[in-house]
Each structure stands twice: as C-alpha cells, then as structure tokens.
Amino acid sequence: MNPRAAALLNWLDDRTGFRVIRHHLLDEPLPPGTGWFFTLGSILLFGLGIQVVTGTALALYYAPTPDHAWDSVRFITSEVRLGSFLRGLHHWGATVVVVAAALHMARVVFFGSYRKPRELNWIVGVVLLQVILAFGLTGYLLPWDQRAYWATVVAINISKLTPVVGEWAAGFLRGGPEVGALTLTRWYALHVLVLPPLLAVLVVVHLYLMRRQGISGPVRERRGTPAAFFPSQAARDLVMAFVVGILLAALAWKGAPALEPPADPAASGYIPRPEWYFLGLFQLLKYFPGKLEVIGALVVPGIAMTLLALLPWIDRGKSRAWHDRRFALGGFVLGAAAVATLTSLGAMDRPSTAATSGWNPQELAGATLIETSGQCAKCHNATSGIAGPIEAGHIGRPADWLASHVVDPEVIAPGVRQPPATNPRETAAILAALARMRSGPAPEQDPAAREAALLIDRNCLTCHRVDGAGGDEGPELSHVGRKYDAASIAKRVNNPVDVKPDAEMPPFGGKLTPAQIQTIATWLAARK
C-alpha cells in the first residue's frame, strides 16, 4: 500500500478504531459446514434494505391525506420517472421480506439453532416477524384505493374482538369515528416513523446476539478449522442477494401492483382481499362464526405465535439431530402445513359474487361514447387548447364534479362550451366509464361489440341487470347465455309474448332492426 495512504488509515484508526470494527464485522469465525442455508438471514436483511430505500423514495412523492393519497400514488405510477417500477419494488420487496423471514425461520428450526444458548435471539426473531407483518398491514392502507380501505376496515374490526381492550384498540387504530383522514395519518406515522426505528433496534439486537453466541453451524458438528465470514460466506450472501435482486426487479418491472379506484366507503358489494401473507388468517376467520370469531381472529394465531416463541423450551431433545427432536419438528411442520393450506384455500376461495374485472355493458357503452361520439373529444383533445384528452388513470376529479361537468360543462368551466347532446342514460354510461377509467383503460372493442354495448345500455339495462349495472324490473342477464342461445334470445327480444304469453316485457321488434336484435342476442348469448 502507498505509505501515505497507510499513514492516513493509521491516523483514522487511531481516532476511530475502525479496524477493530471491521475485524469484528468481517472476520467472524464460522463453524465448518456453514453454507448456503445460512444466507437466508442475509437475504432477509437485503430485502429490508430494499424496503428502506424504496420506501424513502416513495415518501418523496406520497401525501398521506384522503384528498391526495390516491392521486399521489397515481402520480408516482404514471408521472414519476421509473415510478411504477419503484412502487413494484416496494410491493414485491414486502413479499421477498415475508418469504425470506419464513425460510430463515424454517432454517433455524430445522438446524435446531434456537436451542441453548440462543433462546433469546429466537424470541427477538419472533418479535421481528410481528414487526414485519405490522409493516405489511400499515403499508396496505396508504394507496387509499378500494382494496386498501376495505382491508383496513376489516383489520380494525378484527382488533375490536380483543377481550377487554378491543374497543379501545380499534379506536386507537382508527383515530376517529370512522376509517378516514385520521386513520390514514396514524397508519402512515406507524409505517414510516414508529416501525422503522423499532425494526432497526431489533435487527441490531438480533445481529449482536447472533455474534455473541456465534453461528450454530450444521446440525452435526464437522471437523475442521473455523473460516472467517469474509470472503467465502460473504460471497455466498452476495450471490444470493444478486439472484433475489434480479428476481425482484423482474417482478417489479412486469407486475407493478394495480391501483384500484379511490376508496369509497359507500361502495356496496366490494370484496376486500388482504395481501397474500394474511390470506391464511382471512380464511381461518371463516371457520369461526358468531361469538366464536375471536377464536379464529386472535386465539388460534395467538397460541400459534406463543408456541413458536416457546419452541426452545418445548424442544427438549438430547441433540440438534432430527431424530432427537421429532416432537418439536413435527409440530413446526404441521403448523407450517396448516398455514400453507389456509393460505392456498384463501387464495382459491373467491366468492361467486366477485366483481369481474371485465367492464359491464353500461361502462363499455360509456367508453364508446367518450371515444367515438366526438361529444367529449370536441374539447378534450391534444390540439383544442381547451382541455386535454381524457386519459385512463389520469382522472382525479371526484364523482360529483364529473357528474356536473358531463351534464353541463359550462357550470364548472364557464366560457366556450356547450353541453354534450346526451340523454340521461348516456350521461350515466359516460360517468360509469369515467369511474372505471380511474384505474385503467377500457378494453379494446370491435365495432360489433361497441354497437352491442350501446344497444344493450340503451334498451335493456332500464329493466335488466348485467354485471352489476342496470335495473331490477326484469331478470338478471349476466349469465343468460347459460340458459338460452342467440336465436332464442332474439325471439324473446323481438316479441316476448311469442315465447311467454304473460310476458310483461314490451316487444322490441318494431323499435329495433332485425340486425340490431341479432347483435344484442349474439352478445348476450355469449354470457355464460
């Protein structure tokens, strides 16, 4: 080394003692046989690091108020450079952390690493798992979309089940009479101010205790001399971090999480689904009706976590070998299998009333009116200088503003505009489409499908319901194709009395052309 550089380092070491620290951090002696399984904790640490960095970057743009939260997340996704990728990294990073934590924990159990003298560090690890899950829960609310809002309503109501302090706990988590502005600020503060330092302290304690007791090493001690952490184990850690990093980047690039429509406390029939790592708990709730609820919500998970924390004392086996620990290992495997089963059952159990991601005919008709009729486009286009084009994902105005604007643009934007010549039904369709366009563009429609949606919206939805839109005078038509083919439907539309003498439905034979009736019948017959 250059003597000047060496002198500088000596000077620095004299004042900071960094060589001792470096030696302590990198030259930890590892028992022979410490291998790839022991990289799982480092992957977890890597994942947490990703979350800290991406979370901080997201906080540069995020605003935790009901007025702005959803819009700021939309802004991150659509305007911020690499914003969608950033959000994807944070979203999938949470999954990496949970999976790595579970695998790291399983490694510790199978290697018997929690046994004396490492009991306390095992407990710190179990507490860390709770902190990680708390991060997942509090972060879920922040986008303030439908999914966030309703998942939080359910989570807070679960806390209400806690004996004695339930109401108090729910009130503390809610911050006010309803889930609203005060809940959002509260959960934001927990997510970015309370939990991170807690996590940092626990991670430092975890690592300190790990160093104090040393790495447990393989189940059967091997002969040989201990090797330093640096560089061989450090290289394994880096390889794994690299692999996980690539995987994470691919997931974030391809699968940035969708932003659902803004939170709407009045939305009926919205089916909230928790993030996948809470699906097991979500499923468990279904087995405990009524007053037994508290068992599924708190007692079973509480007992499971307590048993997990007490594992070092439950496991009284003579050695770390598997055959000496059948009871403890068997219990852990059963518990893990139960969690996995509940999670997959929860993932598969989608209620039959679940709203389809497809657009209903009213929304499709509205999209056609917006895109093709020219009513909106005469002002909303790139060249008019009056108003920008209507773009999916860029609609931030509240529903009542849009309603006034579509009926009479002059009310909100005085000056040049004349209201679009739409009837109330078309106005409703346009508003329905705009509501859907908040979260994504309308599906591609061929001309026949466009015409079918317009005809069905105009003629059928007054009385019939299709995919949640329409009236309730007549039977629902969402799955009418299961019962009738196109010819049979066409006959009914043409003149219902031909098929059913006491039909109340008016004949459409004189009102619509045979071709139009055929278009409607073909579209409806495809509804299986």
Partner: protein
Amino acid sequence: MAGSGEDRRTVLARMVTVAGGVISAGVAGLVAVVAAPARLTNPRTWRRAATPSDLPSDQPLTLVLTARDADGWYETKKQSVIFLDRDGSGYRALSSTCAHLGCRVKWDETRAQFLCPCHGGVYDREGNVVAGPPPRGLERFNVRLNPQTGELEVEL
C-alpha cells in the same frame, strides 16, 4: 461521618433512577394523551330518506344517504348505505354494515336475503342472521315519518 461518601452515592443513584423513571413516565403519558383519539363518535342526526310511496313491496329500498360529517380536519360528505323497508304498519331502516367485520352487505334478489361478500354472512329481510359468522343482526336505525313533508327520515 464515616462511609457517608458511600451513602451519598447510593442516595444519588436512587434519585437519578427515580427521576429518570418520572421523566420517562411523563413522556409516555404525554404521548399516550396525544395519541389517544379525540373523538370516536359523530352525533346522530335525522336525515331525509324517501317518501313511503318510494318503497317497493317485494324488496327493501337501498339508499345512499349523504350528510356533512367531520373526518379529522375535513368536513366530508359521509355517505351511508341503508336499507329502508316496510315493517308491519311502520318502517324499518337497516345498516348495510355487516355486523361481522364491517363489509358492505348487499340485497340479493334471487335469495331475498342480505349477503356479505367478505366472509359469507347472510341476513334475512329483517336483518336477522341466517347463516355465516356475524355475531348479531344488522344494526337498526330509528325511522320517523315527518308529518309536514310526508317524508321518511332516518336517524344516523
């Protein structure tokens, strides 16, 4: 005073411990007071809902009632979804909030029951639990007929 140095140290150490405890408790108390929610209920008010002739006979009427309400520093339009129905000679208003975990229940025409989309709670037309996890029926709100306007009003 022999050994007084030792005594002084002991007394001082105790004082430091006690003072530290008092300060920590004070800070913790302050945080608890600040973090505890200020208000957990909004006052109830009577809201116009519908006229009796609006009510269909074969199913409850689903209504979205809007009222000004406080949400933190906002005054928001709080929207409550309720089901208004005839009840013998009177009227009945049911909350659409599932008594289980607070999802929004929906009237299902074909089954003539309220269904909760989350965990499968089922209620009959009167709001009583028929199946699923809800521990009690749907909440009932007071309904009154305003003789001056002829309109039904619901206390939310």
